[in-house]
C-alpha cells in the first residue's frame, strides 16, 4: 500500500518541473504554491487508478484499489495548512497565471476546512470498501467526487 504512494510521489517529482514549466520562474509563495499543486497531483494520480476501474477502462484489482483508496485517505488527513499562506490567491498581483486558488478560501475560512472534512469522510467510506469489489468502489465514487467538488466549486477559479 505504501509502495504506490511512494511511486506517486516519485512520479510527481519527475513530472512536476515539466508540468509547471509554463509558469513564471519566480513568483511569491513559489514553494507553497508548487507544493500544494503537487499535493493535488497525488490525489489525482490515485483517483485515476480508482476511476479507471470504476469507469471500466482498467480491470478491477482489489489490492491496488484498496492501496489507492488508503493513499487518498492518508492524503486527506495530511496537515497542509502551510501550503496555503494568506495572500497566495489568484487575484493577488503576479499570481493570476500560477494559481487558481481564490481569495475566498481565506475570507470565508473555516468553510473550506469543513469541506475538507467532508472529503475525509467520503474517503474513509471508500477506503473501507474499495478492496471489496468493483460495485463497492463504483458506488462510492460519487461521494468522493462530491468531496473534491466541494472545494473546487467555490474556491478554485475556472479556467479552460
Amino acid at each position: 500500500m505504501k509502495k504506490s504512494f511512494i511511486a506517486a510521489v516519485v512520479a510527481l517529482a519527475v513530472a512536476a518541473p515539466a508540468y509547471f514549466a509554463f509558469a513564471a520562474d519566480d513568483f511569491a509563495f513559489k514553494s507553497q504554491i508548487e507544493g500544494r499543486q503537487a499535493f493535488m497531483q497525488v490525489y489525482r494520480f490515485n483517483l485515476s487508478i480508482l476511476g479507471g476501474m470504476a469507469k471500466g477502462d482498467v480491470e478491477y484489482d482489489a489490492d491496488l484499489a484498496a492501496a489507492s483508496a488508503n493513499n487518498l485517505l492518508a492524503a486527506s488527513k495530511m496537515s497542509n495548512g502551510a501550503m496555503w499562506p494568506m495572500g497566495s490567491h489568484t487575484e493577488a498581483a503576479g499570481l493570476a497565471d500560477v494559481t487558481a486558488a481564490k481569495e475566498a478560501i481565506w475570507s470565508t475560512y473555516p468553510d473550506i476546512a469543513d469541506k475538507g472534512k467532508d472529503l475525509t469522510e467520503a474517503l474513509t467510506a471508500m477506503a473501507a470498501v474499495a478492496g471489496d469489489g468493483l460495485e463497492s468502489l463504483r458506488s462510492n465514487m460519487g461521494a468522493v467526487g462530491n468531496g473534491c467538488k466541494g472545494c473546487h466549486e467555490s474556491y478554485r477559479l475556472s479556467r479552460d
Binding site: 476511476g51 469507469k55 475566498a104 460519487g142 475556472s158
Partner: protein, 297 residues
C-alpha cells in the same frame, strides 16, 4: 415551411397550437434536471430535495447589471402556481410573461425554445407537483439601456433564431437526442458559446469557450473565469472519448481525474440525474460538432 421563426414584438403561442397532451411528470422530472432549473431557482447551497424548492432570489452580477432570479415555485402569488399551460409554454419558448412582456435572456429561453411542446407541458406538470414558497424575489437592477424591457423586442428580432444547425454527420437517433438535449433543455451554449457585446451568442463559435458572464466578487478582469471550449478541437476536448465525456457528466471527474469546479458542478450534478443513455447521447453529439479553436482573433 418548417420551424423557422423570428421573435420580435410579442408574438405568443396561441391556445390552439398546444397539443392535446396530459403532462407526464416522469418525463417532466427528466426535463427538470436536463434544464438545470434548480441551479438558478433553488437556494445556492440547496442539496437533495431542497433543490425542489424553487424560491428564487439568487443574485447574478453581470456586465448588464444585477439579475435576480425569480420565484418559480408552485405558489400562486409569488411563484408560477397560477400559470396556465399556455403561460408556461410562452415563457419557455417565446420569452414572454403572462402579461406579454419580454423576459431577459439571462433566462435561457433562447435554448428552451427548441424544446418540444410535449416536453414543456411535461415539465410544467412536474413543476406543479413541487412545493410552494412565498419568497418575494426582487426585480432585476440593470443599467441603461438594458433596463428598458421593450428593447428586448429588437434583441429577439436579431438573436432569437428558432432553427438548429443540421448535424454535420449522418443522423442517428442517438445524435438527434444529443443535439436536442445540448441545444435545447441543457442549454450548454448559454455558457460555453461566446457572446457579442449585446449578449447574443456567436453561432459560428458554438461551444468554443467563453469568458464567464458572471462577475466574481473581488475579481479583476485578468482573473475572470473562463468557460472551457468543449468542441472536438485540440483547444477543446478532442482527446476525450465519448465515454470520457459521458463519465465526466456522471461522476464529475475529467479524464485526468481532476474534478469539475465552479458553476459546472451544479450542471454535472443535474446531468448525473439523467438516464445513462442521455449522457451518452450528449457525448456523441459533442464529438460530432465542428472543431473550433479557442482563439477568438
Amino acid at each position: 415551411m418548417g420551424v423557422f421563426y423570428i421573435g420580435s414584438i410579442p408574438n405568443p403561442i396561441k391556445q390552439d397550437e398546444l397539443p392535446e397532451h396530459r403532462g407526464d411528470t416522469q418525463n417532466g422530472e427528466l426535463m427538470f434536471w436536463a434544464g438545470g432549473c434548480a441551479s438558478c431557482h433553488a437556494q445556492v447551497d440547496a442539496d437533495g430535495d431542497e433543490q425542489l424548492l424553487l424560491s428564487g432570489g439568487l443574485e447574478m452580477p453581470t456586465p448588464f447589471g444585477m439579475f435576480i432570479v425569480p420565484n418559480i415555485s408552485s405558489d400562486a402569488d409569488f411563484g408560477i402556481g397560477a400559470w396556465t399551460d399556455l403561460n408556461f409554454v410562452n415563457a419557455m419558448a417565446r420569452g414572454l410573461s403572462p402579461d406579454n412582456k419580454h423576459y431577459y435572456p439571462a433566462f435561457p429561453y433562447t435554448n428552451y425554445q427548441h424544446m418540444t411542446l410535449k416536453d414543456l407541458l411535461d415539465l410544467k406538470a412536474f413543476l406543479d407537483t413541487l412545493p410552494s414558497s412565498s419568497n418575494n424575489a426582487a426585480d432585476h437592477q440593470l443599467a441603461l439601456p438594458y433596463s428598458i424591457r421593450r428593447g428586448l423586442g429588437l434583441w429577439k428580432r436579431k438573436y432569437l433564431k428558432r432553427e438548429i444547425p443540421a448535424l454535420n454527420v449522418p443522423s442517428t437517433p442517438e445524435l438527434e437526442r444529443g443535439r436536442y438535449l445540448v441545444r435545447g433543455p441543457a442549454h450548454c451554449g448559454a455558457c460555453h458559446t461566446p457572446r457579442d457585446a449585446f449578449g447574443g451568442v456567436l453561432a459560428d463559435r458554438f461551444l468554443a469557450g467563453a469568458d464567464s458572464l458572471e462577475i466574481e466578487p473581488g475579481a479583476d478582469t485578468d482573473s475572470a473565469s473562463r468557460i472551457p471550449n468543449i468542441t472536438p478541437h485540440d483547444d477543446g476536448i478532442s482527446s476525450w472519448s465519448q465515454s470520457d465525456i459521458a463519465y465526466s457528466l456522471e461522476s464529475g471527474f475529467d479524464p485526468d481525474f481532476d474534478s469539475f469546479g465552479g458553476s459546472m458542478v451544479h450542471v454535472q450534478e443535474n446531468m448525473a440525474m439523467l438516464p445513462a443513455e442521455d449522457r451518452a447521447a450528449i457525448a456523441a453529439y459533442l464529438k460530432s460538432i465542428p472543431a473550433i479553436p479557442s482563439n477568438q482573433n
